[in-house]
Symmetry: C2
Subunit: 231 residues, 2 copies
Amino acid sequence: MAVQRLPTLFQIAVDLVILTIRDDRLHVLQVVRGKDPFLGGRALPGGFVRLPEGLEATALRELTEETGLDGSTLHLEQLRTYIAADRDPRGPVASVAYLAIAPNLPTPVAGTDAARAHWEPLDDAGRTADPLAFDHDQILVDGLERARAKLEFTPVAAAFCGSTFTMTELRRVYEIVWGVPLDPPNFHRKITGTSGFVVETDAHRALGAGRPARLYRRGTAKSLHPPLLRP
Amino acid sequence: MAVQRLPTLFQIAVDLVILTIRDDRLHVLQVVRGKDPFLGGRALPGGFVRLPEGLEATALRELTEETGLDGSTLHLEQLRTYIAADRDPRGPVASVAYLAIAPNLPTPVAGTDAARAHWEPLDDAGRTADPLAFDHDQILVDGLERARAKLEFTPVAAAFCGSTFTMTELRRVYEIVWGVPLDPPNFHRKITGTSGFVVETDAHRALGAGRPARLYRRGTAKSLHPPLLRP
DNA sequence: GCAAAAGTGTTAATGTTACACCCATGC
DNA sequence: GCATGGGTGTAACATTAACACTTTTGC
């Protein structure tokens, strides 16, 4: 049998696509890199795994460090793993990408490591104004497509909203993430007709003009039957 | 700022959930381990990444070594990445799982490394008779669920079939993977009505009794609109 | 009252389901 | 002919889509 070379040893980075909606536009959290490689360049937030900390724990730690968000209110899921040879001079690095969906917070970005972090708006194609370091442009595209697909089959859109929200706010999430207008009456019926998507509260919210909108909370459903397909 | 510990160095294994249909039942490729840990136990086939070989290349190499399949005819996609501390005495190991869907081949399993490999039938819950080593039972469950979901939205069911197939063969794929019966006339219309799913050929195939079935080839569609949802 | 935003009613178009029935073959 | 599996027709039913219209507020 042929002599087998030893397996490569990798550092494993967890990189985060953190999406939120601000001012009716989709934004991604971006950091300005403070060290080589790509010093001064834009990148997704991320950090290395140090056992016994697992992937999810690393992702949550990075997330709270960079945004001050607490992980209990947001949606976090693994996207996929990327290996790029020569992507880092320190040696072989694998990147496990995570997608996080966060509500728009009163505290935009704060904390110790977060001085270099900011919310960057995305254009209709899901790209930032400046290209990102490493293969982070590809990770961002994959993350956005995952988010768009997940809205069809799960109630994850509510993760973009606060603890209570109006039907119009929820509809705006779909319209902004998908980039298409939706019919308000039909949307309202579709959501309220899907058991467990939202729970009606007795509270209402007025925007100044017009009839005040009823507020809803997130329901317990984990998936949508039937799905809410993109037009 | 606090002193930061060094990132953990990992070996990265690619583990494969290779599904096929034999004798009207779903099977997964299983190996009997030839070394520690779990010597003599059942596991999914897999191997370590050695740069410059990437994840996909490692998966394809393992696949051909274990099954003799050539990668051009089958479907291969990344599932997700698992990190389990203490899963291997040789040190920290991350597992990047891939899902492969293969047609039932005349050559069942052959080749140098494949002596210990065999097709293991799955029960209705998607489990093998004996538990698998490491966290491979979980990976198998995740792979099966991904396959079931993918059948709804993509034409990947054809990857279970040969280069040409009858409508009934394709329908059996859905019935076996989902574990539900489907109405043959409606299935036929649904598939032929989805442009790009299959391409009609002039050939037919007879099974002895009954009207010979038309043969189809795979089309070029990458997704199904509208989807073919599980009942 | 009037404008604005939320929510309901109604109908046509579309898609799904169930199943009766015809077609093409082996024996 | 007759059994068997492939394939088409058709009508009931459910879902979706479009949009008119009513409700409830601020000014």
